[in-house]
Symmetry: C2
Subunit: 307 residues, 2 copies
């Protein structure tokens, strides 16, 4: 893209974002975080043909989904978003869709009150959206921190993105409920803050799949997790094993001390989402994650943990 065309593209983006885009015009953005809070920062790329295909999503969905995926990393750290920066690689064939992409980004950023503070636009062979998200927290939630005896919870309902992706890869039309979870994930920012305030001791967002991210938390915390594979709520039409493998859920997996469990009905009332106990941390064994009872109906395990 010629230099002038880049400026035109940036002008289109800023017009779409309006007051949501702030402080743009210097070589860098300037942000303030409350005194005593730590800065939390992550970068995340969505690339056409690697992370999504054009035929699967509208331009607005592509923007929204990529923004949600990036902001989910701030949720994983129980941080308040302070700003995002977007580096766009734009092929000529996408140029006219830029405003819709920006609309999707803006909608998700606005939903978590995250100003858009910078970015850049380059020409490219494939559409790419590289987000940097900046947040802050007094005490960011970490993957490490779970101890043997802790109870493991997840937010939300699993399996939709995996089922939708499976259908799309096979050229089938995904079920509406599955497609919605795939195309319009929500970063669980407010949920994570609440869970952290309720003394969650470790957490992660579920991007690689419940099982895979449980492994990440287990390794960082130097424990093993025993999970009841069928106790995580799941969308209609998926098996427990599919729900455990489904990636890009952007739900949260968190650990609580057994004597400081969160009030799940309060969580559900506040956020309209289930919060479900799915397992327990045990001393580190050969396998970081052990799945038990696949096939048992949700609620069949860990019922003694409900309160």
């Amino acid at each position: 893209m010629a230099h002038g065309a880049e400026f035109d593209a940036i002008r289109d983006l800023l017009a779409e974002w309006g007051p949501l885009a702030s402080g743009i015009g210097d070589d860098a953005a300037v942000l303030d975080v409350p005194t005593g809070e730590r800065v939390v920062i992550s970068t995340d790329a969505s690339i056409e043909e690697v992370h999504f295909r054009r035929a699967w999503l509208t331009a607005e969905e592509i923007g929204a989904r990529a923004a949600a995926a990036a902001l989910s990393d701030l949720a994983a750290m129980a941080s308040v978003p302070r700003g995002l920066l977007l580096s766009l690689g734009v092929p000529e064939s996408w140029r006219t869709s830029l405003t819709q992409i920006a609309r999707g980004v803006g909608r998700v950023a606005a939903s978590v009150e995250c100003p858009i503070v910078g970015g850049n636009v380059s020409s490219a062979d494939a559409l790419s959206l590289t987000f940097t998200v900046v947040g802050s927290a007094l005490s960011p939630m970490r993957r490490r921190g779970a101890k043997s005896g802790d109870i493991i919870f997840v937010t939300g309902t699993f399996g939709g993105p995996g089922a939708a992706l499976g259908a799309l890869m096979e050229g089938r039309t995904p079920a509406d409920a599955h497609r919605r979870r795939f195309a319009a994930p929500a970063p669980r920012i407010a949920e994570a803050r609440w869970l952290s305030e309720q003394r969650a001791v470790a957490g992660i967002d579920i991007s690689d799949g419940l099982r895979g991210d449980a492994e990440h938390l287990a390794r960082a915390s130097e424990v093993s997790l025993v999970l009841n594979g069928s106790s995580a709520p799941r969308v209609a039409g998926v098996t427990a094993a599919e729900a455990l493998a489904s990636g890009e859920e952007y739900e949260l997996l968190v650990a609580f001390r057994p004597d400081e469990l969160p009030d799940r009905s309060e969580f559900e009332r506040r956020f309209g989402l289930p919060l479900t106990a799915i397992g327990v941390a045990v001393p580190a064994g050969d396998d970081p994650v052990v799945i038990t009872d696949v096939g048992v109906e949700p609620g069949g395990g860990f019922d003694h943990l409900r309160r």
Copy 2:
């Protein structure tokens, strides 16, 4: 790139960076900035065939140059680097060069004491390096802040990158001195901090060319700049007009009040670089930048400003 290959690539990068890479392993990096300082953040992409060609540079130079370009935005804001994140798009044909790219990134990051705190790796059709750089400053330098009567200075010696790029585009071998300035720019972090401490009132780094970036500063400050086009030091073999147009210099252009000029010999002693008065700010006119006396030898203008 398959998930496992991405992990392998990340392992190679971390092995190359050693202790320079810190705090990696959570969903986001956690940084602290000194109490009272503001967070300064910028994102910058270098894409093969857009910003560079493979034949022009070694892999290590590609990494170093892209890192320097990104960190230069922190220099432009007179900020102390606190961390950088690198999002890499890596085609299969570049996979074996990743360690050398990382070496170049690491060398430049270490030169300004900037830890590498996060990033990600994706497969891609073209090599791309998207950096996010985070710094802090009590009072970040801005493009705005120059007033009529201010004296405009630049660091360094101009024209090298433009001459090298011109030669490369025409298939010629650039002169060594030109190529060095093109392939191995240095972010002027320490220089910018010193200039800011000496009461520079506005500043910008020179990525689009001295003339172009002077325009950016003039517009942001709502003044016009009258520049003596031949007074900026330049490398052998380039004209004053070529020096004004040469981009990717990553030198600094700063404004000082006429009664608070910096000690240029002290600057040159500290940094081994010239600091040169090249013009003056005047009330905003039709043209944000007016070039005078192109063709006059360096030092021919603004001599009355020297001290």
